[in-house]
């Protein structure tokens, strides 16, 4: 339960460090490397304290370094960047589930009936979360193929700004709006 998010964090950290070393100039290392060290320190702290704030900070720093290198020096390559972003979201999801289940397992000695129920709930929750992440990745790739057809038609700045504002409104609505109410009856 703790190993999966830790391994994923280590993988993302290695990926970012390799990107930084290969694609960024040595001057950028001076800024990027300390940020990665700080991200690792936050993650190490979160391992001890299970603080969501430390985990968020570690993920945020990792994202800033990776996307910073890509945007400023390596150039935008949507496929690996989308993959990185989805993996970062998967990390957040796994860490959330770890915070839910790890304390429960830590104190469940000698109650096999309840333990079986917790096991079933944990397996189902992890399966659903990973399936949702996988679906998000596939759907994003499909949409990434379709978006250029719509976006490339726009040639003037006013239309581009309008599209951006419309997108921002959709994002805000998605973040704030309550989900569809359940069916009755």
């Amino acid at each position: 339960m703790r190993a999966a998010p830790l391994a994923l964090f280590a993988g993302l950290l290695t990926w970012t460090a390799m990107d930084l070393a290969r694609r960024a100039p040595p001057t950028a290392w001076a800024g990027g490397a300390p940020l990665l060290v700080v991200a690792t320190a936050f993650e190490a702290r979160a391992l001890r304290t299970a603080e969501p704030a430390s985990q968020r900070a570690a993920r945020g720093l990792l994202g800033i370094v990776y996307f910073g290198v890509r945007l400023l020096w390596a150039g935008v390559d949507p496929l690996p960047m989308i993959a990185f972003l989805v993996l970062l979201m998967a990390l957040a999801s796994l860490q959330g589930l770890e915070r839910t289940f790890a304390p429960v397992y830590g104190a469940m000695a000698g109650d096999p009936g309840v333990l079986a129920k917790v096991d079933a709930a944990a397996i189902a929750a992890y399966t659903r979360a990973l399936a949702l992440i996988a679906f998000t990745f596939v759907a994003s790739l499909l949409l990434a193929l379709l978006v250029p057809f719509a976006v490339l038609q726009i040639t003037d700045l006013v239309a581009a700004t309008g599209l951006a504002l419309a997108l921002l409104l959709v994002i805000a609505w998605l973040a704030l709006a309550p989900s569809t109410p359940p069916r009755r009856g």
């Binding site: 935008v76 972003l85 079933a120 929750a125 998000t136 990745f137 978006v147 997108l167 989900s179």
Partner: protein, 422 residues
């Protein structure tokens, strides 16, 4: 209700949209897609609010500090299926969870029941309430939660530990007319020999002293020392100024423990015992006999929390007006301020016999810190100051300087019924 993760994802998507506009690069816009898709997917399947029936059972509702109580919580789902629900039973900070955990994460079908148990052990006496139970149903995405609070409470009354002070000689100095166990230095019903007198009609045959009768050639009866009971009032100093140390091992907690032990001991001797506690409010229990009175005192002591800035001489006012004259006052105070010392002198001047049981704040503070030569010097100075204060008080009262790390019975060994200060 959306979680903070939803806001973060929206922030990330918005940032990529803004950057794409800034760089005029449509490829960057594609990076906003994963968060948008994730947010949209999370909104498709709503999270039902938990509708639960909860029953909580505690293995006992009255216990003493350090004892364990097993709490079992049964939860039945009366609403739709909950794919992931976290159940969290609120436990007050003063109760330590020693086994299990008041937290469970499960899936619950409609009508399904689940129960979980945990053991708590109180560190400090008091009245505590377990609950409410908070149920938090969340989606697989982690973007949405629904919370329900079940306001079910279970009360636990935690009494201080009862010290064994059976051998201590703490008792009222002055007696009243009621029969008791205190030798009263007067003739009356009792068991100890007092003197001889001429037989009077009505004397019991067993009280005739046959040897004396043979010597004087007339019937002589034994006279016995009357055994009577007295009144004692225990005064607990729980003011804010009298608080030293962390709450579980503070002067107030030790004082309460001593008060309960002394009340129990004096009541066993068929005496009347009352209680005055000076804290945020000045509350008191009028003197009475018996086991019921012990429970009344216990109930009052359980609720004692340090606090309040009232002048301590209010105690004298209360004792003078509402309590029997000349009752034995047993003051339990760390004697930290001048006011406590003045109050003792005032009580003695008004004719109250006073015994002081003082949990030593110096020893409590010493136990809090590791051995350090600098602190040793400070300790010696404080110890000297305290010994001076105690010697000054011994002119008015019998003082027991108690190191709370040792049993109270050991400290009470020096207490006699007729102290030397008078």
């Amino acid at each position: 209700m959306r979680t903070s993760l939803a806001s973060w994802l929206a922030g990330v998507a918005g940032t990529f949209v803004a950057i794409s506009l800034l760089f005029l690069n449509w490829r960057i816009l594609l990076l906003a897609l994963p968060p948008i898709v994730y947010l949209a997917l999370a909104g498709l399947r709503p999270v039902p609010a938990p509708v639960l029936d909860v029953a909580r059972q505690a293995s006992r509702d009255r216990l003493s500090v350090g004892q364990e109580v097993l709490v079992t919580v049964r939860v039945a789902n009366r609403g739709p299926r909950l794919e992931l629900v976290e159940l969290h039973d609120e436990v007050p900070r003063e109760l330590v969870v020693s086994k299990g955990r008041p937290h469970l994460a499960v899936a619950l079908d409609a009508g399904e029941e689940v129960s979980f148990s945990y053991t708590v052990s109180p560190r400090v006496k008091g009245v505590y309430r377990l609950g409410p139970l908070v149920a938090r149903s969340s989606a697989a995405s982690g973007l949405e939660v629904e919370e329900a609070v079940v306001p079910l409470r279970t009360t636990l009354s935690v009494a201080p530990r009862l010290e064994d002070v059976r051998r201590a000689k703490v008792q009222p100095r002055r007696t009243r007319l009621w029969v008791g166990q205190i030798a009263s230095r007067t003739i009356g019903p009792g068991t100890e020999f007092w003197g001889l007198r001429e037989y009077a009609p009505g004397d019991e045959t067993r009280r005739i002293n046959w040897k004396a009768s043979a010597r004087f050639d007339r019937l002589i009866s034994n006279e016995l020392e009357g055994e009577r009971s007295g009144d004692a009032v225990i005064v607990v100093d729980a003011r804010h100024e009298a608080l030293v140390g962390p709450l579980p091992s503070s002067t107030t907690e030790h004082g309460v423990r001593a008060a309960l032990a002394l009340a129990s001991k004096i009541l066993e001797g068929r005496n009347r015992v009352g209680l005055v506690v000076q804290r945020e409010v000045l509350d008191w229990v009028y003197p009475a006999f018996g086991r019921k009175q012990l429970y009344r005192i216990l109930d009052a002591l359980i609720r004692v929390r340090p606090g309040g800035e009232w002048p301590f001489d209010h105690v004298v006012w209360v004792l003078e007006r509402f309590f029997p004259r000349n009752c034995q006052v047993i003051l339990i105070s760390p004697l930290l301020d001048r006011e406590a010392v003045d109050t003792v002198a005032d009580l003695a001047a008004r004719g109250f016999p006073v015994t002081i049981v003082s949990p030593s704040p110096v020893e409590i503070e010493r136990a809090m810190y590791a051995d350090d030569p600098t602190l040793q010097v400070a300790y010696r100075l404080l110890r000297m100051e305290r010994e001076n204060a105690v010697s000054a008080l011994r002119r008015f009262a019998d003082v027991v300087d108690w190191d709370p790390r040792e049993p109270l019975a050991a400290a009470l060994k020096g207490v006699t019924r007729w102290p030397r200060h008078r």
